[in-house]
């Protein structure tokens, strides 16, 4: 199954935040959505997730039109830029939240949470409180929380944005590995070219609410759609 966004248009505060954005993500593919800040990357993710309704256009999963399906029924995962962890729940409570909403039994939730915590290197730390975690640990909890219900599409919104340089490199390769192992269909938002190339199999360049061009770095460099793309990838 693949994701298709057709001619997505959203006006926010009188300006066109999404201005006819088109995006396709094939099954098992990781697309890096790249663009300067304010280009509409987060808005597009929110529209795909169902947190923001489109003024025009549509969102499809395979042959299923999701455009008017509310967020909680889309079975997509979104990792928020500032993680948006639940402050009143423990690490395990956060990671297991999606499974709880699916109506799983407590023992199954416990087992899968433990499993997910070991993917992100937080084995046995389920009882810790969110406000005692470092930035990198919060990031791992947010990642585990997003991946553990096995969403059919994973969206990561600048997942490394708030972290310092030293841990960025390590976490970046960990995320790529996690997504590849599980053959996850994913959209990875970043404004950093290096990060986009490292994680994404394909790049989608965004500017002023539109997807300007998609392809691998080599394709985009050899045949840039316009001068802006050429300059941006330099």
């Amino acid at each position: 199954m693949s994701l298709t966004v057709r001619d997505a248009r959203v006006r926010l505060d009188g300006t066109a935040a999404l201005d006819g954005a088109e995006l396709t993500v094939a099954s098992g593919e990781v697309v890096a959505l790249l663009g300067p800040s304010g280009s509409g990357k987060s808005t597009l993710l929110r529209a795909i997730a169902g947190l923001l309704a489109l003024d025009a256009g549509s969102v499809w999963w395979g042959g299923e039109d999701l455009t008017s399906i509310p967020a909680h029924q889309r079975r997509f995962g979104l990792m928020f830029q500032d993680y948006a962890l639940f402050p009143h729940l423990s690490v395990a409570g956060n990671v297991g939240y999606g499974l709880r909403m699916e109506g799983n039994e407590a023992p199954a939730i416990k087992r899968r949470v433990a499993e997910a915590l070991s993917w992100v290197g937080l084995d046995g730390q389920g009882n810790r409180r969110i406000d005692n975690l470092s930035g990198g640990e919060q990031q791992r909890v947010a990642l585990a929380r997003t991946l553990v219900p096995s969403p059919r599409l994973v969206m990561l919104d600048e997942p490394l944005g708030a972290l310092d340089r030293q841990i960025r490199g390590r976490l970046m390769s960990e995320i790529r590995q996690l997504l590849e192992e599980r053959r996850t269909t994913a959209v990875y938002v970043t404004h950093d070219l290096e990060e986009a190339v490292a994680v994404g199999q394909r790049l989608a360049l965004m500017r002023s609410g539109k997807i300007v061009q998609t392809g691998t770095l080599d394709q985009l460099r050899s045949e840039p759609a316009d001068l802006w793309v050429e300059a941006f990838l330099r």
Binding site: R46, A49, G50, L51, L52, A53, L54, D55, T67, S68, P70, A71, H72, Q73, R74, R75, F76, G77, L78, F80, D82, A84, L85, F86, P87, H88, L89, Y97, G98, R100, M101, E102, R129, I130, D131, N132, R145, P149
Partner: protein
């Protein structure tokens, strides 16, 4: 397609908007009718004959006493609390956190209990007793506010000044003190306002030989039945407090916050000194409370066997508990929506100012305002709800301050995160919002109940014989002659101290910044 329905995952947006509007308007209406309107009436009333009635030389004496006792109380509190603040914030003593929690106990004790404790020491009728009681009360303010900053000062700045040749005394004077100045200014402002508007302590210990403006307001209204003069005095006091707070606010804004870290280095020698400081400070703080406990012996049996002539003490306990419960509910209903609004950045400052006003306005003024304003259209002055309403006004600032940080956790992103993980609107409420609100409500309600249990200023005005609360009964017993009445008052003060103490301990656990 309705985009909002999709975003929120619900259809009945109209009802939700209505609910929000009600939650906004009701607390404001409550504060408007029960605070702004009565205080406004007092302003109007004083504008007429009130000022003419005032006996000028006597008033000048009262204002002078109010100012100088507040100044002396503030300076003495700062000086005496600094060694303890240092010991608890800069030295890694065993049991440090427990001591820091214990030091808060005097601060939350009802004024009547503190007054009684110093009466038990036999210091009645002296200005020293009033000053000592104010210091006893406010040590916690300094330890908490100044210690909070002191414990996080970067130790490298001392090392730097030591390397540059400064001796310890100079380091304190040239480095530590300037960095602590904002915290010291904030603590001083709070101690000054509390001492300036002091009522229960001064009424009990000053025995009307010494009176603050607050006591003079009470006296004018209840002994001389001169409401216009009382109103004029209230306005005078309101103006003084507002001026003070504004000045303090300007001062502390101008001071840059110091650089903070977390580390605690303490050589063995300073640990011994700190241990002595803590022992001496706690010894001194315990003296009045021990005296209170000792003088209460015999009071319990007197209460059980002899009528006080002022109504049953058990009934007063029941009244106090019932009032505290009602005040907790009211203050939570009013305070939580305000705290929620205050958590939004746009209204934050305005809400903060609005809810702090009742605190700056003395409780006595609020009580007086009730008597003046609430006789019509419906005469609420005889309503059993009157005292809980007055208490809730005094408690709302505490509720808002305590619950604001908890409620600000409910951000849109948190709700969206839950939605993406599969929670529908109902589930977002039950799993995310409700637990957070419930905890905030428990915390706010507990705070409000503690405030209500100890509230004396407003109650002294509006209490009716059948609704006497514990603090009022204690004050009345103390005003009567006889050893039996005295030990009965001490016994009730011990009860009040116990109940308040337990409640505050419970609330303190809830109020921990962690979940």
């Amino acid at each position: 397609m309705d985009r909002r329905r999709l975003a929120l995952g619900r259809a009945k947006l109209g009802r939700a908007a209505l609910g929000r509007a009600v939650l906004t308007v009701l607390p404001l209406a409550f504060l408007g009718y029960f605070f702004a309107y009565p205080v406004g009436r007092i302003l109007l009333m004083s504008a007429g004959e009130g000022w003419g009635n005032l006996n000028t030389p006597r008033l000048a004496g009262t204002v002078w006493f109010t100012f100088w006792q507040a100044s002396v109380s503030t300076v003495a509190t700062l000086l005496l609390a600094m060694p303890l603040t240092w010991a608890l914030s800069r030295v890694s003593l065993p049991g440090r956190r427990t001591f820091t929690a214990l030091v808060t106990v005097p601060f939350v004790l009802p004024t009547v209990v503190v007054g009684s404790a110093f009466v038990a020491l036999g210091w009645t009728g002296s200005v020293w007793a009033i000053l000592a009681a104010h210091i006893f009360y406010n040590v916690a303010v300094v330890v908490r506010l100044v210690g909070g900053v002191w414990s996080r000062l970067d130790p490298t700045i001392w090392e730097a000044s030591a390397v540059l040749g400064a001796r310890p005394a100079r380091r304190f004077w040239n480095v530590t003190l300037p960095l602590l100045r904002p915290a010291l200014a904030a603590a001083a402002a709070i101690v000054f306002v509390f001492s300036f508007t002091s009522f229960g302590v001064v009424l009990i210990l000053g025995q009307l030989r010494y009176r603050t403006l607050e006591v003079a307001i009470y006296e004018a209204a209840t002994s001389f039945l001169d409401l216009p003069s009382a109103a004029a005095l209230s306005v005078l006091q309101l103006a003084c407090v507002a001026l003070l707070l504004a000045t303090a606010g300007r001062l502390s804004n101008r001071l840059a916050p110091p650089r903070l870290t977390t580390s605690l280095a303490s050589p063995r020698r300073s640990r011994r000194t700190a241990g002595i400081v803590v022992a001496v400070s706690f010894g001194l703080l315990a003296v009045p409370l021990l005296a209170l406990a000792r003088r209460s012996v015999g009071g319990f049996s007197a209460l059980a066997t002899r009528p006080t002539g002022l109504g049953s003490p058990l009934a007063a306990v029941a009244n106090s508990l019932r009032t505290a419960a009602l005040a907790a509910v009211l203050a939570t209903l009013v305070g939580l929506p305000l705290a929620r609004m205050g958590a939004g950045r746009r209204w934050g400052r305005a809400i903060d100012l609005l809810v702090m006003l009742p605190l700056g306005t003395s409780a006595v003024t609020v009580g007086l305002g009730f008597l003046v304003a609430l006789g019509e259209p419906v005469d609420l002055r005889t309503s059993p709800l009157l005292i809980p309403i007055a208490h809730s006004l005094v408690a709302v600032p505490f509720v808002v301050r305590a619950t604001g940080p908890l409620l600000s956790a409910i951000r849109p992103a948190i709700r969206e995160a839950a939605a993406v993980l599969g929670a529908n609107r109902q589930q977002v409420w039950t799993t995310i919002e409700r637990p957070i609100v419930a905890r905030a409500a428990a915390l706010g309600g507990g705070m409000a109940a503690a405030v209500s249990l100890g509230e004396f200023g407003a109650s002294a005005f509006i209490v009716r014989p059948e609704s006497t609360t514990l603090p009022v009964l204690i004050a009345r017993l103390l005003a009567r002659p006889g050893a039996v009445n005295f030990s009965a008052a001490m016994a009730l003060a011990v009860v009040l101290m116990g109940v308040t103490g337990l409640l505050v301990l419970a609330v303190d656990r809830l109020g921990e910044p962690r979940w």
